[in-house]
Symmetry: C2
Subunit: 461 residues, 2 copies
């Protein structure tokens, strides 16, 4: 059977997986520092539920069926199941299902694979990992949670070896109030949505085309000009408020939006300076956002698009009696990693967790080498025992090929003491497995950023 | 839409998930200490490949199809895909696909969900997590790797809060050589397999029934008696060798098996005393095992069956020219957790990673509370800021409900210093967010074993 990769289902070699693990570890550790417990939901949901939400994703669901189920009378009564295409729909269902056993406001993080039945030729991922945080409450959600989300992801990005990531923040109430203030939507509320969606195309088609589209949709030239002026405002500090005011538009919903966005940016300036920018063109296509919305840009790679986005929604879930408003943000881990690994912009110092290879003198001596390894593992030092009592040069090359920095030789000194060799420097010293420790930076594989232009472009599959 | 759990797809509440995370962390940390890098494989394999391996699992595959794919001409050319039902078949494919980019002998660990289309009414898991380690080599695999596997999992089980787990080890060559030595399989080699499978039923039907079945299959009474005598041998030390010898059977394959098993048990006695037992009734149903085989028992819960099993196979994978022999072992994480949580035998000290709730004096003071939380997070202390500036009693109850042990009050002392309260003891002391640390045991949620009989039996869904 010929083996070929399946398009859209990426897999990593061990060194690339070490990079991925580092990213996932930083994400989890940071989410936990901010008090977000983890949950996982099953990979499947009833297809009905998947189709009921999530906007444009409804065409991309993988259904699952038991291959041996046809002749099974029990199968006929099975609910039709599909693989989840995001973590928001399953989370909403989890909240409704467990509402009586959760404490609200309920924070959670969730890092899982999701699947989308994209057409393979588009070169998109069909299996990928998302890392989400959300807070939901019962009935009402305090606005300060909208300031909390970008603090958490700013800390994630600061800790990752990826250069500078900027979180672009807007509040849907700003364009909505502004548009109402200039008369858009006075007769037909759908004009607000249409205008938002048109502005969202700015990056793709540019301001002139957007102006033409707005006029075509019924705006006056002056309305279109003002919409574009609003969308052009982008400030790292609170000056966006004055810039909006200078456009001379008044509306209570606009005031509300400006106040909430100012609070978000102020919290950012105090707790994560340089991480956020108020960017009034950010709209997020999905209709269910009602307040703050987030996107991100990797500085120097703006064309790669957003790796992290989300926003506030007034009803994540509802069971008819109770509504659960929330705010959430989602990191597209696989897309970020795929680009960084593919461009050779991030790497790992070795392809194994092992820090030390314990050499074997001869097969009878394997027990001694194993005893040394057991002692070091007990002290938190990852070890491998050499597979064969080959010549030491060969055992050293075994370590070298995997990037293992140290080789341990049992009884190697003239006095019979063990010795350990740093195979990078060649330095070899007497050592005792109950006391020797590597420098902290060698204990685990290091994941590092590769400077732009320094890379050979090798990487992920 | 009414929400009901889907049978066979377990989900955990946050506190249960903390237990699961602890188990998975211990597993990963231990695998890494032994030099096993992680890989993950995609969730899907071509159905052909899934059907080609894995014995009795071939009736239980979930196929996946794009729900919107019917009218798509590209879909017709798609390979038929199914969800993997174990981690061995995908690993074999990964090794063949990446052989030129891996270094052999190749160790890896893999912790992922797998899916089996079991009939729901059987109450079995249809989605569950497995944690596997394997070593594969090219052409030949040194026997010492067979001694390495149980050392690794013994360390996992020693670190988990689950009581004593015993790894039962046998070598397929022992029964095979023994049976040949007493004349079984002399005319028909399949008699060996038949005898093995019959002996494997000992736990279910008992020795008398097994003896009858063996005789029915063509054994003499004396042969059946000897087979049962062999299967009854179980020793924690090397005395199984003499006990086998005392049965007076000679065969070179038996000698080979005894020698390899003795080496495995000796390595266990030296590096993980008390963790292993030579148990000559262990057979493992699957035909592809050719040497050492492993199962496990949780002492006091032997009826729960094995939570961890595996063995040596002479050809995990082959591309026609090259064969990759290996040895591996797999921990059934979900089944173990499901039973422990379901019986209330394991628990977590809280339902959130947060160690400290920073109280809020009033909404204007939220910025101060957030600053305190940011400072403590920078020192590795997980914090939450209280959702509302409610009365302190209410904020304390918020912490209590989640098991958060400390509540921080900004400017609470007479002198204006901050104070922190251990809400379990009620003790409240002056504290500074740049210096205060909780006791080590409070920093993260503790996962603990609940003594048998002490439990109310609440637990997992």
């Amino acid at each position: 059977m010929k083996i070929t990769p399946i398009s859209g289902f990426p897999e990593y070699l061990p060194a690339e997986r070490i990079v991925e693990q580092h990213f996932l570890d930083v994400i989890r550790e940071t989410f936990e520092l901010h008090g977000y417990p983890s949950i996982e939901t099953r990979a499947v949901e009833p297809v009905d539920r998947l189709l009921g939400k999530g906007g444009d994703a409804d065409k991309e669901i993988y259904g699952i069926t038991r291959l041996a189920g046809e002749e099974d009378p029990a199968a006929a009564s099975d609910v039709e199941l599909g693989l989840h295409f995001d973590l928001t729909v399953p989370f909403a269902r989890y909240v409704l299902e467990n509402a009586g056993r959760l404490t609200f406001p309920f924070r959670r993080h969730q890092v899982q694979k999701v699947w989308r039945g994209e057409r393979p030729q588009e070169g998109r991922y069909r299996e990928f990992t998302q890392a989400d945080i959300d807070v939901v409450d019962v009935g009402e959600l305090a606005p300060h949670f909208e300031a909390e989300m970008p603090l958490v992801v700013a800390e994630v990005f600061r800790k990752l070896p990826i250069g500078r990531m900027v979180i672009q923040v807007n509040n849907r109430k700003i364009p909505e109030g502004f548009y109402r203030g200039i008369g858009i939507g006075a007769h037909d509320a759908t004009e607000i949505q249409t205008t938002l969606r048109t502005i969202d195309k700015l990056d793709k088609v540019g301001p002139e085309k957007v102006a033409a589209m707005l006029v075509e949709a019924g705006c006056t030239d002056e309305q279109a000009r003002k919409c574009l002026a609003l969308a052009a405002i982008r400030t790292e500090d609170l000056s966006f408020v004055d810039q909006v005011r200078a456009l001379g538009v008044e509306h209570p919903v606009l005031d509300e939006g400006l106040e909430t966005l100012a609070a978000v940016i102020r919290t950012g300036l105090e707790n994560a300076p340089g991480a956020m920018v108020a960017d009034l063109r950010i709209a997020r296509g999905l209709d269910y956002y009602t307040g703050t919305v987030y996107e991100t840009q990797l500085v120097g790679h703006e064309s790669w698009g957003s790796f992290c986005s989300g926003g506030r929604y007034d009803s994540l879930a509802s069971d008819g009696r109770t509504t659960y408003p929330g705010v959430g943000i989602s990191i597209g881990v696989s897309r970020l990693l795929g680009l960084l690994l593919g461009q050779g912009l991030v790497g790992a110092s070795r392809s194994t967790p092992a820090c030390v290879l314990v050499a074997v003198n001869d097969e009878e001596g394997r027990a001694d080498s194993t005893r040394v390894a057991t002692a070091m593992r007990g002290r938190g030092i990852a070890c491998e025992v050499a597979p064969k009592p080959a010549k030491f040069g060969k055992q050293i090359r075994y370590a070298e090929r995997r990037g293992i920095p140290y080789v341990w030789f049992v009884g190697a000194s003239a006095g019979g003491a063990d010795q350990v060799k740093d195979i990078r420097s060649g330095e070899q010293v007497d050592a005792d497995e109950t006391r020797w420790s590597p420098p902290a930076e060698d204990l685990r594989p290091q994941v590092y950023r590769v400077a732009e232009g320094a890379s050979g472009g090798e990487g992920g599959s």
